[in-house]
Symmetry: C2
Subunit: 151 residues, 2 copies
DNA sequence: ATTCTTGCAAACCCTTTGCAAGCTA
DNA sequence: TAGCTTGCAAAGGGTTTGCAAGAAT
């Protein structure tokens, strides 16, 4: 007598992912900005938009998305992790404005090479590297100069 | 009539710093290792050495030392800040072993230049950058290969 | 009906702060 | 003695987890 469970189900099968209002809402917010946003920040915006999504869910989703490689995660100086939808697929780094959070994706072949060379020279293998460039973007710099103090 | 406070005391005068058993103990631990260590880690080692130093004091000191530029502070992927006595004075980056924490200070003129160029190209000013190279050092790689599993 | 998803409540963990007692100079 | 330093206790802040109710398939 055959088992009742469908034969399509395999042992290591990835679980079926479901579409929910919360996931869609979070995705919309992520799509609507190209700056790195913290979980708390995203949560606040969701509430502002009238979307009722729990903070826990925001964390749950962000982790899932990050694990799946759908978003970039970056830990800031203050220890908060910030997330951002990643457009490009290839390896790249970020140029981030410390004032408005605006980010530009940049490439740096010479940096990749340098990292590999340096690591090799010291006998390190399985190398990864993090490179972030932080600065003040032109717009913010102008604003700051003109006396319109940021804070 | 002159004020009673000594005339040697100036308004913005830096406070007198005192030498204590705790400070010396922490300094000793920091000197005894050239890897980045977390506050908790340092605290544990102090206890292991039989030195009674409070966790709060470790944090207090590390912050003071860091503010004074006497030690380097680096926030890891896990959000913990790690500290390390910094030998060299000039700007440099770190090559860190993800297994044993061993670090090598490396320079990268090309990276500095790249960062400056990229930032300039996008109109960013007042630029800073963080570059960390993470890998597995030769010793650890060998140990892992030989089946002596790390965990 | 099944099982993934949600989100409240509470736990975690690192770090900071309040403050009274302790110690250095 | 003066006031920097210590460190217990407790608060803070971001993030994770337990788990029962809810929703998608």
């Amino acid at each position: 007598m055959p088992v009742t469970s469908p034969s399509t189900r395999q042992p290591g099968r990835a679980p079926h992912e479901r579409s929910t209002r919360q996931k869609r809402a979070l995705a919309a917010v992520l799509d609507g900005s190209d700056a790195f946003r913290s979980a708390q920040d995203l949560f606040t915006e969701l509430r502002a938009r009238g979307e009722n999504v729990g903070l826990t869910t925001v964390y749950n989703q962000l982790r899932a998305l990050s694990d799946a490689g759908a978003i970039d995660a970056l830990r800031g100086e203050d220890g908060e992790v910030r997330y951002r939808r990643c457009d490009t697929d290839h390896h790249h780094h970020h140029l981030v404005c410390r004032v408005c959070g605006r980010t530009v994706e940049v490439e740096g072949p010479e940096v990749e090479e340098w990292a590999a060379t340096v690591a090799f020279a010291h006998g390190f293998v399985d190398v990864a590297h993090t490179v972030e460039v932080l600065g003040t973007c032109d717009g913010c710099a102008k604003r700051l100069r003109s006396g319109t103090v940021g804070r």
